[in-house]
Each structure stands twice: as structure tokens, then as C-alpha cells.
């Protein structure tokens, strides 16, 4: 455990030193405060709009940006150290591969988690002071919690990439493709399946397919509570076949644990 914390502490400090924490926090804070105030600008009003709209627009932005940031933060975690030679060195220390991986995960995960909490928390607090409604905190709490899980999930996926390739540039390429597939292509494919193929997929089947993509689970968590008018596309169909929040959160947690376990497995098999 001590070894894990030593690694985690170092990774966290790297995140501070490289200005990752501050920049991610700022991005999230600007996004969320901006959306909170100007989200309704399109409909002619500036100022705090309804809670559900705010969370909905935040979620639909976060679903693109959080995976991207998590992948960027972590894609070179292992391949980078492999290229500089420190990975080989670390493995000659009394430090197991799983300790190293978990340490990195805790360290970099904390950066993502803290940035999400501070960045989005800022607008939650702001909204709370404006509207004074306790419901805001619980709604934002749910949003922030799922956003953190989404970030952690993509951190674990980034480790999978980082451990499977031998060059940093390749890892960057794969990270980008992964982001594109999960955040954009997957939904387009679902939509095509839904519209293009008659009787191709049932509502139940669609929801199950969505479980294969952590970004969709995140969407479901955050948009399920909303009126249907705010949601469109494949999502609205899925929402009607609603799964309980607990089920959705379990699926999201599974998307953190499974890639992480697989990453440990790959790391153990990897020869240097």
C-alpha cells in the first residue's frame, strides 16, 4: 500500500507541476459557469435558466470533453516511461506491476476527480446562491459523480492503450481514435441502426447496446431525469426503456473496473 501511495503522490504532483489540475479545473469552471449563465442565450434570455436544461447542456458538453482530457492526461503514462527507460528501472525496484499501475491510477484519477469537482462544483455553488434551491446540489452531485466515473473510465482505457503500444506517437493516435469511436461514431452507428434498419433493434436491445459505451451510460444517467423535449436522437428512445440510476451507475463503475483489471493483466504479460 505504501508503494502505491508513493507512486500516486508522485503522479499527482506531476499533474500539479504540469498545470494539468489548474487547466482542467479552469476549463470545466468556464464551461459550466458559461453554460449556466448563457445557456439560454439562444432563446433570447441571459441568466440562470432551469436546472434541468443547465445540467443537460453541461452533460452533453462534458461527454465530449471529459474523455478527451482523461485520454490526453494518461495516454503516455506507461509508454512514455518505457521510452525514457524509467519503467524498466521501476520494475527492478520492490514494486509490483499492479502497485505501479494502481498508484498511477490513484494519482492521475485524483487530478481528474478534483478538477471535475472544483470546476463543475463552482457553478453548482453559484447556482445555489442564485436560486437557493437544495435540489441543485443533489442534481449537480449526481452529475459530478458520474462525470468523475466517466473520467476514471477513460483514464483506465488510456492505460490499456499505453500498455499495448510501444511508441508514444502511436499511443496518441490510438487515444484519438478511441475518443472518436466512443464519443462520436458509436452514437452515429446506433442511430443508423435505429433508423436505417427496420426492426433492426428493439428498445431493450438499444439500451443494452448503449451499455457498451461509457459515454452513453453517462448521458443516460444525466438526461434520464429530464423531460423528453430536451433530449433527442437515439437517447430519447433509450430513456423510455429506463434503467434505474443504480443500474446505470453500476455499469459506469464496471467501465472503470474492467479496463483497469484488463490493463493490469496486459501489464503482467508485457515483456520489456
Amino acid at each position: 500500500m505504501r508503494q502505491i501511495l508513493t507512486v500516486a503522490h508522485k503522479e499527482f504532483r506531476d499533474g500539479l507541476r504540469n498545470r494539468w489540475l489548474i487547466s482542467i479545473t479552469l476549463i470545466f469552471a468556464l464551461l459550466s459557469i458559461g453554460l449556466t449563465y448563457f445557456g439560454a442565450a439562444a432563446s433570447g434570455a441571459v441568466g440562470v435558466t432551469s436546472l434541468s436544461t443547465t445540467v443537460a447542456s453541461l452533460a452533453s458538453l462534458a461527454v465530449f470533453i471529459i474523455p478527451l482530457i482523461a485520454l490526453l492526461l494518461s495516454y503516455d503514462s506507461f509508454v512514455g516511461e518505457q521510452e525514457s527507460g524509467t519503467l524498466l528501472l521501476l520494475l527492478t525496484y520492490p514494486l509490483s506491476k499492479s502497485q505501479l499501475l494502481l498508484g498511477k491510477f490513484i494519482g492521475q484519477g485524483s487530478i481528474i476527480a478534483l478538477a471535475t469537482l472544483l470546476g463543475f462544483g463552482a457553478s453548482a455553488v453559484l447556482l445555489y446562491f442564485q436560486l437557493g434551491d437544495i435540489a441543485i446540489l443533489s442534481a449537480f452531485g449526481l452529475f459530478i459523480f458520474s462525470a468523475i466515473l466517466l473520467g476514471l473510465s477513460f483514464t483506465a482505457i488510456a492505460y490499456l492503450i499505453s500498455l499495448s503500444v510501444s511508441e508514444k506517437s502511436k499511443a496518441a493516435g490510438f487515444a484519438l481514435i478511441t475518443w472518436f469511436l466512443f464519443a462520436l461514431a458509436f452514437d452515429l452507428a446506433l442511430l443508423a441502426l435505429l433508423v436505417g434498419v427496420d426492426e433492426g433493434v428493439t428498445q431493450q436491445g438499444l439500451t443494452q447496446l448503449m451499455m457498451l459505451n461509457p459515454t452513453d451510460i453517462f448521458r443516460l444517467v444525466n438526461l434520464a431525469g429530464l423531460e423528453n423535449t430536451n433530449v433527442n436522437g437515439a437517447l430519447s428512445v433509450a430513456i423510455n426503456a429506463s434503467l434505474s440510476q443504480t443500474q446505470l451507475f453500476s455499469a459506469l463503475v464496471a467501465w472503470v473496473v474492467l479496463p483497469l483489471t484488463l490493463a493490469i493483466f496486459i501489464f503482467k504479460k508485457k515483456t520489456l
Partner: protein
């Protein structure tokens, strides 16, 4: 006291698919012994180090370090007694030298509160305390190498494996480095120095191993290797008279055959004839200076390598 070897390899080898990175290798390293491991790139030096470090497992044969297989679970704790300097390692650029070293000290299992103190001590030992608060990215190559050495010295290791330790070090730092090696050796540490053959290394090693394309070409003390190689001793002498040494020995039927066409005033004498030839030369009144040079490590190394290459070509020629 029974001398159990600290490291022993028995028929140990490593293959990657078809490629034999290291074919059956048998060797041992005793406590307080310094072994030089020489070979070109791809000779199998790093593979052998990785086997000893337990980072990879042997494809066949047995590796033992401090009585345990280094890749096994029970060898876990002995890892803190092993120091390693990889070739071309570049440390975390954005951290300071002190932070990097403190991190490694902690990972070696030292308590957090002692780690920093110990790190400073090690930085002092390699002489870069003045730069310890600076980020590693501002370090020169020599400073990085010193930082790497400090890292390898953590916890007074019983076994040190150093891959190209003197690359990038200036002469003074190199001297300091060898001083540390000698000191660790006298404290009972065993050291494996992996290197291209460099001048100055031979005074500090007890035995040398020469590897090429995964095979052991020769192993032994320098004088054993010299004997095996049977390289001649080079004797250079200058003469006051015209004609130099060549002229002086022209009359002597025995000395005459040691003369070489390639360079004048030079005799190439087999090791066992050295003394008798020298005695004879000393009797020649016209000589005013004699210079005797035994084959150095580099020549021995070249000899074994070229012999190996000749054997390879010979075999290939025979097959075709």
C-alpha cells in the same frame, strides 16, 4: 567461510521467438567481486542484466541471485539490495533532481521522513547537490548520469548492475565514479559493469566476460584472458646508433624473428619469452630507451571478437 556465489547462472538463456538473445550461459559472481561485461550492442549484455534483475525470466536454465530466483515472489525483498543503472535512462524532466531521487529512495522501501535526508546524502556522494533544486530538464548529460548513479547507490546495494556507467562523465567524474566502485567493492558489494571497452576500466575489474551475439566468447581475469588470447607483448626500443633497433638486433638470429615489418623499432614477443628477450636487449649497449607494453583489454577484446567472426565466416563458407 564457504564462498557461495551471490549471482549464479547455470545454462541460462533467453529466446524471443526465433531469436536467441542469450544462449546457454554459465557464470557466477562472488561477493565483493567486480565483473566487467563487454560486448557490442546486441551482444546480450542487457538481456543478461535483465535476467539477473528478474525483470524477465529465463527461457531455459537457472538464474539465482542471493540464493533465490530473482523473478520469484520470495526474491521480492532482496530487490531493495540490488542497484541498477539502465543505459540511456532519462528521468522525470519536470521534477527536480532531489524530488526524483527522493521518489526512488521511497520506492526502495525507506520511510518517508528519512527519504529526503538520504537522497541529499547520495546527491552529495555524486557531487550534484548544487543542482538538486533544479528541474532535471536543465541538467547536462553528465549530471543526469550522476543522478542515475546516485539512484543505483540507494541503500548500499549488495549487488550493483551498471550499464554504461561512465558514458557522458568527464574525466574527473569518471575518476570519482571508479573511486566509489572501489569503495563499494571493499564494503563487500558485488558489481557488474557493463560497457563498451573503455580505457581505465581494467584496473577496477576482477574478471571480464566477453559476449557476442548472445554467446560467451571468453571469461576470466585479465591475465587469464591475455594468456588465452596469446597476444604478443610489444617492446619498443630506440637506439643511439643509426638503423635503430632493427639495426641493433639484425645480427641476433633469435631477436630478429620478433621484428615486425609494419612498424620499425618494435618487437612482438610472446608473453613467455618476454623476460629473456628483455634481458638480451638490456645487454645491448646502444639502446637508450625500452618501452614494454602487454596487450590491453581492448586488444584482448578485439582478438576474441575477430576470432569469433572468423569462426562464423569459416562455418558459413563450409556450408555453402
Amino acid at each position: 567461510m564457504m564462498n557461495t556465489p551471490l549471482v549464479s547462472l547455470v545454462e541460462a538463456g533467453k529466446t524471443y521467438g526465433q531469436l536467441a538473445a542469450l544462449s546457454s550461459m554459465t557464470m557466477s559472481l562472488n561477493e565483493g567481486e567486480v565483473l566487467g561485461l563487454f560486448g557490442h550492442n546486441g551482444a546480450g549484455k542487457t538481456t543478461m542484466m535483465k535476467l539477473i534483475l528478474g525483470v524477465i525470466s529465463p527461457s531455459h536454465g537457472k538464474v539465482e541471485v542471493m540464493g533465490m530466483a530473482p523473478d520469484s515472489k520470495e526474491a521480492w525483498h532482496s530487490r531493495s539490495k540490488v542497484g541498477y543503472l539502465p543505459e540511456n535512462v532519462s528521468f522525470y524532466e519536470q521534477l527536480t533532481g532531489l524530488e526524483v531521487l527522493t521518489y526512488f529512495v521511497k520506492l526502495k522501501g525507506f520511510a518517508n521522513k528519512d527519504a529526503k535526508k538520504q537522497a541529499i546524502g547520495l546527491l552529495e556522494q555524486v557531487g550534484i547537490t548544487y543542482a538538486m533544486k533544479r528541474q532535471v530538464k536543465t541538467y547536462s548529460k553528465g549530471m543526469r548520469q550522476r543522478l542515475g548513479l546516485a539512484q543505483a547507490f540507494i541503500g548500499e546495494p549488495k549487488l550493483l548492475l551498471l550499464d554504461e556507467p561512465t558514458v557522458g562523465l568527464d574525466p574527473i567524474a569518471t575518476r570519482d565514479f571508479y573511486k566509489t566502485v572501489d569503495q563499494l567493492k571493499s564494503n563487500g558489494s558485488s558489481i557488474i559493469l557493463c560497457s563498451h571497452v573503455l580505457p581505465g576500466v581494467e584496473q577496477h575489474i576482477d574478471r571480464a566476460m566477453i559476449l557476442s551475439s548472445g554467446k560467451l566468447l571468453a571469461m576470466g581475469t585479465l591475465s587469464e584472458l591475455r594468456q588465452q588470447a596469446a597476444l604478443p607483448v610489444v617492446i619498443k626500443a630506440t637506439s643511439l646508433k643509426e638503423g635503430g633497433l632493427n639495426g641493433a638486433v639484425a645480427q641476433d638470429s633469435k631477436l630478429k624473428c620478433f621484428l615486425t615489418d609494419a612498424c620499425p623499432d618494435t618487437l612482438m614477443v610472446p608473453e613467455h619469452e618476454k623476460l629473456s628477450v628483455l634481458k638480451q636487449l638490456l645487454n645491448l649497449s646502444e639502446l637508450d630507451d625500452i618501452h614494454v607494453e602487454s596487450a590491453n583489454l581492448e586488444q584482448v577484446y578485439q582478438h576474441f571478437l575477430s576470432r569469433h567472426e572468423l569462426a562464423l565466416h569459416g562455418r558459413k563458407g563450409g556450408q555453402s
